[in-house]
């Protein structure tokens, strides 16, 4: 084994093994945190070594499914840098906030191991499997932290949403496989570039859906928002960093495909701008309402929207730059509320906000020069977001978690803007989107119950019942008419006739016999004597 192989094994294997070990070994939260920090430092060192020693190409290769090609882990690409950034973010978050429960930390480590596999994977199949494992770890976190009925509710919502994104990704992967004949990411993406427009629409749609969901772009930030009652580490790292970063990285890798079809890209770009605007506005409104945690989630959603704009504009390198530059500030904003000491939190938020402004200002500047004109309009939500971040830096942070982000009293105190903001929030977020989610979830349940009642109990059950009744009735009628009427009747008639005939014959026969008994006896004796003599 050479250095690159050791480094890759360390980056992937260490968190997986340590995650399992930490889950099984009985130790306190503080001790587990120290162990976690040491381990994360080792993983980061492994990745740094991989960055330094790794040459482009596959380091590890495993055959899994026939015809699917080998599952490879590759160095030399952008994946190592993204993995390193995500690992450093884990280190930072564990250092900044209170020690999580041992099992929560173990889940986070498993998540990191799977995420690193996804970053380094050279095969779409390997990446898909790794992303699924990450989604499972993310969904398991609420079950570990909340023993009440809230945990399963969050886990269910999160996993179903993430699987929706994975379904989009799987659709794109399978179509790319068909179009290119390979599951190797580079080959599949190259093969997809020359594909027919009809197939490409499905591919781009699937990839955009996957990235949209994983990054938590509006309105799919709901799965990150669901982590609100969980511990700071789980909220900031497991939920808000790992999958959003993986989504961003996925988007970066597939940018050439997305931008290749100008019309599709334009549609995606405009939608993404609207999404970024909506989320940016939501973030601003929530902040004014004092809901710090949710406003940060919406800020991430706005950034995700902007990332989609960059992808639609074909700015892959900008996108990767944004991934590297915004991971730590975004995480710091999530952690700011939980950083020990009010001043520490404020400093953390200020620094993080400033860094985000700088990063996005750079992106906007670069976009202005290179992208199509429509994409420059992406500057609008960008500016909204920058303004928000500036406010965030100066705004006194709320330390309490608000169940209702915009309390009416508070909105009143903030005057007309607050009232408008509150109204928009209530109508759009709680009313329209909340209602949509409720209708969707309830709709599936209702549809299944109705289908069950109508089809199973009604149509099919009724059909069976009618069939059974019909058969029973028909057989009863048949019994009455054929069996009892015709066959039994005829038999009875025959029997009755036979009996009457035999009765008549018997009476005739016995009467004659009785009245001529002497003559019969003499005749029999004579017959016997004749037989003996002759």
């Amino acid at each position: 084994m050479n250095a690159a192989m050791w480094a890759t094994a360390g980056a992937v294997g260490l968190p997986l093994v340590a995650g399992l070990g930490l889950g099984l070994a009985p130790m306190g939260a503080a001790k587990a945190r120290r162990a976690g920090l040491a381990l994360l430092a080792l993983v980061a060192a492994s990745l740094a070594l991989a960055l330094w020693a790794g040459e482009p190409g596959a380091v590890w290769a495993v055959a899994w499914l026939p015809d699917a090609g080998p599952l490879t882990l590759e160095l030399g690409g952008s994946g190592v840098q993204a993995a390193l950034m995500t690992t450093v973010a884990a280190l930072l978050s564990l250092g900044l906030v209170a020690a999580p429960r041992r099992w929560a930390l173990a889940t986070g480590l498993l998540c990191l191991g799977a995420a690193n596999v996804a970053y380094l994977s050279g095969s779409f199949l390997g990446r898909y499997v790794a992303l699924e494992v990450v989604a499972l770890c993310v969904a398991a976190a609420p079950l570990i932290e909340r023993a009440d009925d809230e945990g399963p509710r969050i886990a269910r919502a999160v996993y179903v949403l993430l699987r929706l994104g994975d379904a989009g990704l799987l659709m794109a992967i399978l179509l790319l496989w068909r179009l290119s004949g390979t599951l190797a990411i580079d080959g599949a993406l190259a093969g997809g570039l020359g594909a027919d427009p009809a197939s490409m629409r499905w591919v781009v749609g699937g990839l955009a859906l996957a990235a949209w969901l994983k990054m938590g772009a509006w309105p799919f930030q709901a799965w990150i928002e669901a982590a609100e009652p969980l511990s700071p580490f789980t909220r900031a790292w497991t939920f808000a960093t790992v999958l959003p970063n993986l989504g961003l990285y996925l988007l970066y890798r597939v940018t050439p495909l997305i931008a290749a079809r100008s019309l599709t890209a334009q549609w995606l770009g405009w939608s993404a701008m609207l999404v970024a605007l909506a989320a940016g506005l939501g973030s601003l409104l929530l902040l004014r309402g004092g809901a710090w945690r949710r406003s940060v989630v919406y800020l991430s959603a706005a950034q995700a929207g902007l990332a989609l704009v960059l992808a639609a504009a074909g700015e892959g390198s900008l996108l990767f730059g944004i991934l590297l530059l915004t991971t730590l500030p975004r995480l710091a904003l999530y952690c700011a509320e939980s950083v020990r000491g009010r001043e520490g939190g404020r400093v953390c938020a200020s620094v993080a906000g400033g860094a985000l402004v700088m990063a996005w200002a750079w992106a906007l500047w670069s976009l202005r020069a290179a992208a199509p004109a429509w994409a420059v309009a992406g500057g609008l939500p960008l500016l909204t977001m920058a303004a928000w971040t500036a406010i965030a830096m100066a705004y006194p942070m709320e330390r309490t978690v608000l169940a209702e982000p915009l309390r009416p009293r508070r909105a009143q105190a903030q005057g007309a803007l607050g009232a408008v903001a509150g109204a928009i929030y209530r109508w759009v977020e709680q009313g329209l989107l909340g209602g949509l989610v409720t209708v969707l979830a309830g709709g599936v349940q209702w549809a299944s119950r109705t289908a069950h009642d109508v089809v199973e109990e009604g149509l099919l059950g009724g059909f069976i019942a009618a069939l059974t009744n019909g058969v029973v009735r028909a057989s009863q009628v048949a019994r009455r008419t054929v069996e009892e009427g015709t066959l039994d009747g005829s038999l009875r008639l025959v029997a009755r006739g036979a009996r009457a005939a035999s009765d008549r014959m018997a009476s005739w026969h016995s009467g004659k016999l009785r009245s001529n008994l002497l003559w019969v006896a003499i005749s029999l004796v004579a017959l016997l004597a004749w037989a003996i003599s002759g």
């Binding site: 079950l143 009440d148 009925d149 499905w202 199973e456």
Partner: protein
């Protein structure tokens, strides 16, 4: 009677359980002995089939040739080939775990010898179905399977409705059987023989119009046994009322016999051209069944019925995969049969353990069992995630192949619906697993769990993981069947 060395395996596969069943009825051993005898008799077929695999790999198919009615061209041939192998393995494996599970589930009493004897006869019916090389022998075993399972439901079923349920099960599935018989008679009349090796030429023997009719009859007839929408009506009640070992055999093994029928007869005897007209209808019915079954599983409250309806959904995937008529689709569908058997048996075993522990079967009355039943919870989570198609568990592998087969056809939109429809499987699996094991404890756990029930459950959970990580040998075996399907032109 012609025999080669490997053919003894065929005799053992059918003969040992048959003899054991007769012995159980005649001798009527007391206590647990019936269960042990049945367990031993159920282990022999599995070992025999595995013993015959090397012969298959060397190209020497185990065969027994026996003339039955020579002047009518009817034979009593038995034969193991690559199409039969996965199904025979499924049947033998499921029977073994079901019998072992019955040791813990069924309290020994005077009826035990009859119960185990019928379980073995049910298994003989399924094994004979997969090993017959003639249509009439196939049909005899097919009906034996139905009779034995029907009697098991009728006598040992749960609740007062068992008579009605057994009747419904018998009548509905028998209608399917009659359709199959009609198709068989059509082919027999034209070919003058019931031997499948000869009937492979049936595409040429039958007039074109009759080919389509025969295929349609067989597809519908076997679909009844598969229990795809809308001919699934016998399944939810039969699975719910049957005692758990029988439910396991019904859901995990007997449904597979419908798939086997489709592979062996319409797809095994006719050409690609003849089958092509049925490709899209099969895919459409598959998708509808997948989504409909999952919706019904979401609507149900009875935990046994939820798992039962999930079979309707899973059979939908399989029919869809067969309908793609692509390499990956057909291999994936056959793999799905094997993996579905593992996971469905696992899930029903888990439900049996939950019902035994709590005495309840309504989802709303259950919850928070993870602390009381940790091993069962782990098994259930593996089963639930597998049925949801989460990697790297076994059903992910087969679903991956089925989906990829779908995307290789021209029906991309249908494939997209299938893929996104699988989210409903995620929804019902999560609802069931999280509802049973997470949250607050709603029902006290009263009974201890017998090892005979826990060990096979855990073994299947382990198998679901192992087969997901190392599926290659099985995929290799299953792929071999392609040369025997639709003229082998793949």
């Amino acid at each position: 009677m012609a025999l080669n060395q490997a053919s003894w395996g065929l005799l053992a596969t059918l003969g040992v359980p048959l003899v054991a069943a007769v012995l159980l009825v005649v001798v009527r051993p007391k206590g647990r002995i019936s269960g042990w005898v049945a367990g031993l008799a159920a282990a022999v077929p599995l070992a025999s089939i595995l013993w015959m695999v090397p012969s298959l790999q060397q190209g020497q198919d185990p065969t027994i040739t026996l003339q039955w009615v020579p002047m009518a061209g009817i034979s009593m041939d038995l034969h193991l080939d690559w199409i039969s192998l996965p199904f025979a393995l499924v049947e033998a494996g499921v029977t073994l775990v079901a019998v072992v599970y019955a040791w813990g589930y069924h309290r020994p009493d005077e009826s035990s010898p009859y119960l185990y004897a019928l379980l073995l006869l049910f298994a003989v019916g399924m094994a004979g179905t997969t090993l017959s090389d003639g249509m009439f022998l196939f049909f005899i075993f097919w009906e034996l399977m139905l009779l034995a399972s029907c009697l098991l439901i009728l006598v040992w079923g749960e609740g007062d409705r068992r008579g009605a349920v057994a009747f419904k099960y018998f009548v509905v599935t028998h209608i399917g059987s009659l359709m199959v018989l009609m198709a068989f008679l059509m082919m027999y009349n034209e070919a003058g023989t019931d031997r499948l090796s000869v009937l492979r030429q049936a595409g040429q023997v039958l007039p074109a119009a009759q080919v389509q009719v025969a295929i349609a009859l067989m597809l519908v007839g076997f679909a009844v046994k598969m229990a795809v929408f809308p001919v699934h009506i016998w399944l939810p009640d039969a699975h719910t009322v049957a005692p758990m070992p029988v439910t396991i055999m019904l859901a995990a093994a007997m449904l597979a016999m419908g798939v086997y029928g489709i592979l062996r007869f319409p797809m095994g005897l006719f050409s690609v051209e003849a089958m092509q007209a049925f490709a899209v209808p099969m895919m459409v019915v598959g998708v509808v069944s997948e989504i409909y079954g999952a919706l019904m599983a979401l609507a149900e409250e009875d935990i046994k019925r939820i798992v039962a309806y999930s079979s309707v959904s899973q059979m939908g995937y399989i029919l869809y995969g067969l309908g793609t008529m692509t390499h990956n689709g057909v291999v994936g569908a056959t793999l799905q049969v094997v993996f579905h058997a593992i996971v469905k048996a696992l899930l029903f075993m888990v439900m049996g353990l939950v019902i035994r522990a709590t005495g309840k079967r309504k989802l709303g009355e259950l919850g928070g069992l993870a602390r009381s039943l940790p091993v069962v919870t782990v098994c259930a989570v593996i089963g639930g995630l597998a049925i949801a198609g989460a990697p790297p568990l076994c059903l992910f592998v087969s679903e991956w192949m089925i989906f990829s087969g779908g995307f290789q056809t021209a029906n991309v939109a249908l494939s997209v619906v299938t893929l996104f429809g699988s989210l409903l499987s995620v929804a019902y699996a999560l609802r069931l697993m999280l509802g049973l094991f997470m949250g607050k404890l709603k029902s006290p756990v009263v009974n201890s769990q017998p090892l005979a029930m826990v060990v096979p459950t855990a073994a299947l959970a382990l198998l679901a993981v192992v087969e997901g990580i190392f599926p290659t040998p099985l995929i290799g075996w299953v792929t071999e069947e392609l040369s025997l399907l639709m003229g082998g032109l793949w």
